[in-house]
Amino acid sequence: MKRTFIIIAVLSLIMSFTFNMGAQEKKAVRKVITFDNTPVKRPYSPAIEVNGTLYVSGQIAIDQLTGKLIEGKIEDQTRQVLKNLKNVIEKAGYTMDNVVRCTVLLSDIAFYPTVNKIYMDFFPKDPPARMAFAVKDLPMGALIEIDATAVK
């Protein structure tokens, strides 16, 4: 009788312990991806990682050294945007191959074919799902903005 009681007590202890472990694993851990030169007052983070998913903020063609939009045409801006995107993704420990979806916002739909050509260089195989369209205006008068979601 006493032995049975001890066995039951030990078993329930083990069960409650494993149950707690499971509960702990399910809790989402939110990690902010940021850089030394990320402006403190900016109301968004470069990226947030939760549960193996990385949400990357829309990137425009800002030169990381000057903090200004680069000079140049849509080709140059597209390359800079994708470089910035790659930079954030890699800082978070992900790769461009982990990207599952992107949003491409253009200031002019006529940029579509040119953007596609450069975009392909950054996603040569199994490209992400995507949504692309022209908007009225982008921040800082940018010609293009791209956001991304990556899953590891």
Partner: protein
């Protein structure tokens, strides 16, 4: 890991994107415009016909990936003209009789191929 979904029952991609990508039990479907898969052209007609074609395309991709409309958790509807909002909603509602997905909808400047509508969806089983 990342799985690319491909079906001939939906329009082939007109740019460097996959029709859909599945990862971690989440299906990310590319923004669909009302291209008829057989012709590769935008369907004839107005916003209602275009919205219906967009849903046919989404349906074909969901089907190929083994998902259903009721699995869609989030959609983004882009229309070229806010005046089309009501007509778009009428067709849209037919596909989501209950448990309507979270949604963002807005008018944009222009859509690829001069489409009147583009819808992006995310589904979880």
């Amino acid at each position: 890991m990342k799985k690319v979904i491909n079906t001939l029952n939906a329009p082939v991609a007109i740019g460097p994107y996959s029709q859909a990508v599945e990862a971690n039990g989440i299906l990310f479907i590319s923004g669909q415009i009302p291209i008829v898969p057989e012709t590769g052209k935008i369907i004839e007609g107005g916003i209602k016909e275009q919205t219906q074609q967009v849903f046919r395309n989404i349906g074909a991709i969901l089907d190929e990936a083994g998902y259903e409309f009721k699995n869609i958790v989030k959609s983004t509807c882009l229309i070229n003209d806010m005046a089309d909002f009501k007509a778009m909603n009428e067709v849209y509602s037919g596909y989501f009789p209950d448990n309507k997905p979270a949604r963002a909808a807005y008018a944009v400047k222009d859509l690829p191929m001069g489409a009147l509508i583009e819808i992006e969806t995310i589904a979880i089983k």
